[in-house]
């Protein structure tokens, strides 16, 4: 393409035929300019002592002060650690559960049972975090929750306020996240499995391989590739906390912050309190930049391993 002469290219540029294309692209182009590109410009607030009255063009620039302030608090370390650690565990747990379930589901003799189960597994994926928070509270509520009721039945006092017990939350959040998202991944892996040519299995069966041997030597190797690609891809999102999970499911309970506060909840609270807009923006910029660098690295790695799976 590049070798093509400039003059020929110029001739192609303004064609009457193309006018409808400009018109069709226009709404999306304008919308993204307004709601994606303008906010990128708004990131200058990270370098300002933002004043709500004076707004962006009136506020004074303070260089990297906001970042210095952000990283001098213990918050920066806490939210970074929580965001990254939860994401790593989420990725691994969800992958293991989903692969195991998909492998078993694929082997079931009754296709109808497998379909019905898959339908159930996928259901929580369509619930909002607002609903999931209520589901969780049905178990953990102090006065009526199922867990405390069961503790009473077992002879305990049963008046535990679970929303003030940080020690249970890391495990709980991993479980809730898996409950919500594993079904989706199971469906993905099942789709990969069903794409494996049936001939492999038939040939193996003729050679006398059991279903287990077939799974081990045909299905798993086929999956391994997809899994490793999707694991690497997942790394690019490792700096993004799931706001709904960490905010609504925990009821935004302050005593849980040491184990539940992630970058996104931190930014949200900063915004809501309107205390220090500059520093909150700085936290956002920190997240965006690290996320961007991660995507570039991940894409580089993926395009080395498998150019077809690369994002760009």
């Amino acid at each position: 393409m590049k070798a093509m002469g400039v003059t020929r290219k110029k001739q192609r540029i303004w064609k009457k035929r193309d006018i409808p294309l400009y018109l069709m692209a226009a709404p999306a182009v304008v919308a993204l300019f307004m709601f994606s590109y303008l906010p990128m410009g708004g990131l200058v607030m990270a370098f300002q002592n933002y004043n709500v009255g004076k707004r962006i063009f009136g506020s004074e620039f303070v260089g990297f002060k906001n970042f210095e302030f952000l990283f001098s608090t213990s918050d920066a370390w806490r939210i970074t650690r929580n965001t990254v650690a939860y994401n790593v565990v989420f990725i691994l747990v969800n992958m293991l559960v989903a692969v195991a379930v998909a492998l078993m589901l694929n082997e079931l003799r009754s296709r109808r049972t497998a379909k019905a189960l898959q339908t159930i597994y996928l259901m929580p994926y369509f619930l909002s975090w607002a609903v999931i928070a209520i589901v969780v509270s049905a178990f953990l509520d102090r006065s009526n929750g199922l867990v405390n009721q069961i503790m009473i039945l077992l002879g305990g006092a049963g008046k535990v306020n679970w929303y003030q017990k940080p020690e249970i939350w890391p495990g709980l959040l991993v479980f809730v996240n898996a409950w919500t998202k594993c079904g989706y991944q199971t469906v993905l892996y099942l789709a990969v499995i069903s794409g494996i040519s049936q001939e492999y299995y038939e040939a193996a069966a003729l050679d006398g391989a059991t279903r287990f041997q077939q799974a081990k030597h045909i299905t798993v190797p086929h999956l391994r590739f997809v899994i490793s690609i999707s694991l690497i891809m997942a790394v690019s999102d490792i700096f993004r906390g799931d706001f709904g999970l960490f905010y609504t499911v925990t009821n935004n309970s302050g005593s849980l912050y040491p184990v539940t506060d992630v970058i996104d909840t931190y930014i949200y609270r900063g915004l809501r309190n309107m205390g220090n807009v500059g520093m909150t923006t700085a936290a956002g910029l920190y997240q965006s930049v690290v996320g961007f660098v991660l995507i570039l690295i991940v894409n580089k790695i993926v395009s080395k391993i498998d150019p077809d799976s690369a994002m760009f």
Partner: protein, 306 residues
């Protein structure tokens, strides 16, 4: 077909393991379904039963109280329902319209801008200004907070969906067909509406379904930007209920009348909340098995390439 089935017959899991796997998977299914079932059961429990045995799979007394009060509480819930349906339907129609058009444009390989345009879209997936600048922009500069525009405009173009649609168009609309239409003198509008849209129905349906679910489930926009009770989506209402039942007292508009005060005092707060939750998820969960095919197709369709 018959031959394949016979072949499959001899190559299946043996019965013993089939039973074990089935049991394990059913157990997982119960683990997944039970929490949702609990909400459903509690919504049908009487307030007295909840006071006695708490939220339980085996309530002491079944009752429709929660739902009866759901109807009485009226205004706010009705407003939220109506608004959520409006948001989901209008938002999705606008969104799919905008996204499918731009998806077609970047699918046209000999359009000289198709590559820069794809990058213009794609870059927003790689880097974003984040929450604070968006908030400041919407509230301090555009002043669209607390209006319907905050629901309709910022999320109108999901680039992820655009890429899915573009891939769908490229794989499902034969190039030969487009070429012959071009030779016959059809313009891009005509090609898009007469050829591309009809041939991409399945892709459009999938994206539309995901968009509808996304908008139906959106609680965040309402929480961040909205005060006007007429513009509070169901899911936001749920989080507000979750945070304080008092919210109703201030906003339902029923507290002003003597009847309303009486109603509030006797209101079955907990089963009402669960009934509200069921009302919010029922449309999605009822529709989903019928559209599952599209959902599954959509979930597995997201390959992003250029």
């Amino acid at each position: 077909m018959k031959e394949r089935r016979r072949k499959k017959e001899f190559n299946r899991l043996n019965r013993k393991w089939n039973v074990i796997f089935t049991l394990l998977l059913v157990l997982v299914g119960i683990l997944v379904a039970a929490p949702m079932l609990l909400i459903l059961i509690v919504s049908f429990s009487s307030e007295a039963s909840i006071a006695k045995v708490g939220y339980s799979f085996f309530p002491a007394e079944w009752s429709l109280e929660g739902y009866r009060y759901l109807l009485k509480m009226g205004d706010q819930l009705l407003d939220s329902y109506v608004f959520t349906i409006f948001y989901a339907v209008v938002g999705t129609v606008l969104s799919v319209f905008v996204m499918s058009m731009v998806a077609y444009v970047i699918s046209v390989r000999d359009f000289w801008l198709h590559r820069p345009l794809t990058w213009y879209l794609f870059f927003t997936m790689l880097f974003s200004g984040g929450l604070v600048p968006s908030y400041i922009l919407n509230v301090q500069y555009l002043h669209i907070d607390d209006t319907i525009w905050i629901f309709l405009l910022p999320g109108i173009c999901s680039v992820y969906n655009v890429i899915i649609l573009r891939t769908f168009i490229r794989t499902n609309v034969p190039e030969a067909l487009l070429d012959s239409a071009k030779i016959d003198g059809a313009g891009h509008f005509m090609i898009f509406f007469q050829i591309v849209v009809p041939l991409s129905k399945a892709g459009l349906a999938t994206v539309a379904l995901f968009t509808v679910v996304g908008k139906w489930n959106d609680w965040f926009t309402g929480m961040l930007y909205v005060e006007n009770p007429k513009l509070i989506p169901l899911q936001t209402l749920l989080t507000k209920l979750q945070n304080s039942v008092d919210y109703l007292k201030q906003n339902a508009g029923i507290a002003s009348t003597p009847d309303g005060l009486q109603l509030l005092r006797t209101m079955p707060k907990t089963s009402l909340r669960m009934a509200c939750t069921v009302a919010a998820i029922l449309p999605i969960l009822c529709a989903y098995p019928f559209f599952q095919r599209y959902f599954v197709q959509g979930l597995t369709m997201g390959s992003i390439k250029e």
